[in-house]
């Protein structure tokens, strides 16, 4: 709901918002330019200024102080009106005043799209849309970051998500101020809020018509500092009935030219003061630094619009089409899905369809959309995968927090089905956590969590059969695995390591089989989908077997897709890949793996990998700017066999992208494992972690478990634990 509130106004009013924001940015520069050009007039009172100007400049009718501090005089020379810039120190006219035509044009575009009232309405609507977008966006950001206190912390997610959220965080305050003040100005223009100001104080004033007093002696002019002046209209020289009109930041009135005292004066009322303040906050007139700040914030709007649109589209494409999805508050059955790579969605779609055709009213949604209350729900079904060792997958990351905030439930039964891989120590770990959390909230347990190992369709059908019997309906499951669109990639080179053909490892490099065409090639796209080092390449082996995932050693900007593969005994995909010769093509897609990235900043990074786990790690080192210390601990069989990237790694140490390379060879004379090397370096590693270092582990799950044990020993007594580092995103794993 909140997400819709955030995206819908943006999608509808995108162009309008861009015009208003960009013109706003252009206009924001003018107060600074004007203020820089204005001469300082502090400490001078209006009586002194008026008398100085009248003495030096002929035909002065009125003096105006611009918000920038610039003093200008309107004067009649012969029959012609002239506008001059005044030096307040001397009273001399120093130049002709030429307001910028560009500024006026941009301002009219900004305020009313160069139209009349229709344009004013449109920009007012744009301000309202912007306010809705910014406030809903702020709420989403706070939720994403895990609360107000964490708002300034590092943003996690894909590059696009980070870009959108980090820029939004910078621009939020400015955009709120611009939109809110803009909306107020618009409402005032259309009389929807009062503008203030009663009757004109100058109706029915009668000057005493005696001979005029010298301007510099007039008490009411002496009482006003030039910084408070708005405008001063002098009395016409040949007109005894004329008065002096003075407008200040506090009020306006008429002064008797004979006595220099008020004939009438009205102070600004509350509304007028409010609107003056609103105007200043919106335009930055008289507050140049605020103007620049708002302008910079507005400049973020195009970037936010584009990244926001891409995120919206990715989200839509990522989600499956659910036929007949019932609104959350009308459903009797709520089906929540926790998925990292969307494979669980394939199962969810099948279950959703079967339950719906069995006559149930089903609402299916990501776990992140868990509602505090489902009014009509009688049962809650959760299908979720697990990320790594018991961590919530992408579409369920906010679930635990949202469940904790919800009130205790009564009368809703639930069942959880976990999807995972039995090779992991915590098989379906997250599904078990969800089961316990729901039970603790008062949901009624239908049964202990079910499990599905490696997308096994028979296991899924078995669970559905149980579900159908429990609900007393027949479920007709039509399951088709959900795969994203694939790209054809051509193998261009392979480097083999290892003597034994049964266990050889290979570095494979692919390029797109078809070059980019049309607008993509114009924009310099390579024909590769966007990806970063550490993301996963899903390879679909022939004959439709389930895809296998390989960590990427390259980024899309490298123009090459590089992965490391070791031939597994009986492994369908690894045998297929390691059997490819250059020129062969594969079908593959990219899965973001945003958690496995070096954190932003300059903190040291400790990379630990074994075997083909070196892949993403060497990618990080290749893209490492030399000033950031990176340490690599690499385990292989021996210095000759399976030491992937040996020569390149030595080169990376040479040009300081890699601070230190430590190797462990398990089949050499020493028989060392990478965890032994870590423990041996305990002192240095403890220091590095104390400096805020991040630990990144990539490799098989046994090796990862051994490394985690080693770290527990290294950190013992330091007050830090692996678990704590994990929650801070400073201990991340890519395990297979």
């Amino acid at each position: 709901m909140l997400r819709k509130l955030h995206s819908t106004p943006g999608l509808i009013a995108a162009l309008l918002l861009l015009v208003v924001a960009l013109t706003g940015s252009v206009l924001s520069v003018f107060p600074t330019l004007e203020q820089a050009a204005a001469k300082d007039a502090s400490g001078i009172d209006v009586a002194t200024l008026a008398s100085r100007v009248s003495a030096r400049v002929s035909g002065v009718e009125s003096l105006v102080r611009e918000p920038s501090g610039l003093i200008i005089a309107y004067r009649l020379v012969g029959e012609e009106q002239r506008i001059s810039i005044i030096d307040p120190a001397s009273g001399e006219a120093v130049a002709a005043y030429q307001p910028s035509a560009v500024q006026r044009w941009v301002k009219n575009l900004h305020r009313r799209l160069l139209l009349d009232d229709a344009g004013r309405v449109a920009t007012g609507v744009a301000a309202a849309c912007m306010l809705v977008i910014v406030l809903s966006g702020l709420t989403l950001l706070v939720r994403r970051m895990g609360g107000w206190k964490q708002l300034s912390g590092p943003v996690r997610g894909t590059t696009l998500q980070r870009l959108h959220n980090e820029i939004a965080r910078f621009a939020l305050a400015g955009l709120v101020l611009s939109a809110a003040t803009g909306l107020l100005m618009s409402l005032a223009t259309f009389g929807l809020i009062p503008e203030g100001g009663g009757t004109d104080p100058l109706l029915d004033v009668q000057p005493s018509a005696a001979s005029a007093m010298a301007l510099d002696r007039m008490p009411e002019l002496q009482a006003v500092d030039v910084s408070r002046l708005r405008q001063l209209k002098l009395a016409g020289p040949g007109d005894p009935g004329d008065v002096i009109e003075l407008e200040t930041t506090d009020g306006a009135g008429a002064i008797d030219p004979a006595t220099g005292t008020w004939l009438a004066y009205t102070a600004l009322d509350g509304w007028q003061r409010l609107h003056a303040t609103v105007r200043m906050l919106h335009t930055g007139d008289g507050m140049w630094w605020l103007g620049l700040l708002l302008g910079a914030s507005s400049l973020a709007v195009p970037v936010l619009a584009v990244t926001g649109f891409l995120l919206w589209r990715r989200r839509r494409q990522g989600l499956p089409r659910l036929i007949g999805n019932v609104p959350a508050q009308d459903a009797d059955t709520v089906l929540l899905v926790g998925s990292e790579t969307n494979t669980t969605w394939g199962f969810a779609v099948a279950l959703h369809a079967a339950l719906t055709s069995a006559g149930l009213r089903v609402h299916t949604a990501p776990m992140n959309d868990f509602a505090a209350r489902y009014r009509t729900a009688r049962r809650l079904l959760v299908l979720t995968s697990t990320y790594g060792d018991g961590v919530a997958p992408e579409s369920a990351r906010q679930f635990t927090a949202r469940l904790a905030r919800a009130r205790a439930s009564t009368g809703v039964a639930f069942a959880v089905l976990g999807f995972g891989d039995r090779q992991f120590a915590q098989f379906c770990g997250f599904a078990h956590q969800v089961h316990l959390a729901l039970a603790a909230k008062g949901f009624e347990v239908l049964r202990e969590p079910g499990t599905v190992d490696r997308h096994s369709e028979p296991e899924f059908r078995q669970w559905c059969e149980w579900l159908g019997q429990t609900l007393g309906v027949a479920l007709d499951i039509q399951y088709t695995p959900m795969l994203p669109p694939t790209t054809a990639l051509k193998l261009v080179s392979r480097t083999d390591y290892g003597a034994d053909p049964q266990t050889l490892a290979a570095v494979l490099r692919f390029v797109p089989a078809a070059a980019a065409t049309g607008w993509r090639s114009w924009l310099g796209f390579s024909g590769l989908p966007p990806f970063e080092t550490g993301d996963l390449l899903g390879v679909v082996p022939p004959e439709g077997a389930a895809p296998r995932y390989y960590s990427l050693a390259s980024a899309a900007t490298d123009g090459v897709v590089e992965i490391c593969v070791r031939r597994q005994h009986g492994g369908v995909c690894s045998t297929y890949l390691t059997g490819l010769q250059p020129g062969a093509t594969i079908e593959a897609f990219v899965r973001p793996n945003a958690r496995f990235r070096p954190a932003a900043g300059d903190v040291p990074v400790i990379l630990i990998g074994a075997g083909t786990g070196i892949g993403p790690l060497i990618g990080f080192v290749r893209h490492n700017p030399p000033q950031r210390p990176m340490y690599l601990y690499f385990g292989a069989r021996d210095a000759e066999d399976g030491f992937l990237y040996r020569d390149e790694l030595h080169g990376l140490v040479g040009d300081r992208r890699l601070h230190a390379l430590t190797t462990a060879f398990s089949r050499s004379v020493e028989r060392a494992y990478v965890q032994d090397r870590l423990v041996a370096d305990a002192q240095r590693l403890r220091e590095l972690v104390g400096q805020g270092a991040q630990v990144m582990v990539c490799g098989g799950r046994k090796m990862a478990a051994g490394v985690a044990d080693a770290w527990e020993r290294i950190l013992a007594g330091s007050g830090l634990t692996v678990a704590l580092l994990r929650t801070q995103g400073r201990y991340v794993e890519d395990v297979y």
């Binding site: 009106q81 506008i83 030429q98 100058l202």
Partner: protein
């Protein structure tokens, strides 16, 4: 602008006894290139002692800015009825041409045509044009002190 309306309304506003003693008068006001947004104008009549008599034309759609047409605004108390004798503001360098109905009795009787002008963020010019309303004055251009480059009326 819409032609029929000015005729009817001015006839009413001036309270002339019959349409036979009135005549059309064309007002042509050309503005200078003053370098601002559209100007607001009030064109009105004062009598032989300089007192406000009636409004001929107001190019100022938003009444909340009328106070910037200050002489006219004060003379009318800000409550002038301008139905049918008002229109859009006039852009810099543009010319406003309107024809209104005028009672014959006002001609050569000491009446004067005044024009007040105002532009956003620029100086207000009350009574920047003041010309006597006479048979002899027809077609003679007058120059304003502010944004009016030339004004003439044709009987």
């Amino acid at each position: 602008m819409k032609h029929a309306w000015p005729l009817a309304a001015v006839a009413g506003a001036l309270a002339v006894p019959s349409i036979a003693s009135a005549r059309p008068v064309a007002l042509e006001t050309q503005l200078t290139s003053y370098g601002g947004d559209g100007a607001y104008l009030a064109i009105y009549l004062t009598d032989r002692v300089g007192k406000y008599h009636s409004t001929l034309w107001v190019a100022a759609p938003k009444a909340k800015y009328w106070k910037h047409l200050s002489d006219w605004y004060r003379a009318t108390g800000g409550t002038a009825k301008v139905d049918g004798i008002s229109g859009a503001s006039v852009g810099a360098g543009k010319t406003l041409r309107v024809t209104v109905e005028l009672a014959d009795a006002l001609l050569d009787a000491g009446y004067e045509i005044h024009i007040d002008t105002a532009v956003e963020k620029m100086k207000d010019n009350p009574s920047e044009v003041v010309v006597p309303l006479t048979s002899a004055g027809t077609g003679k251009p007058a120059v304003g002190r502010g944004y009016v480059k030339s004004f003439r009326y044709t009987l």
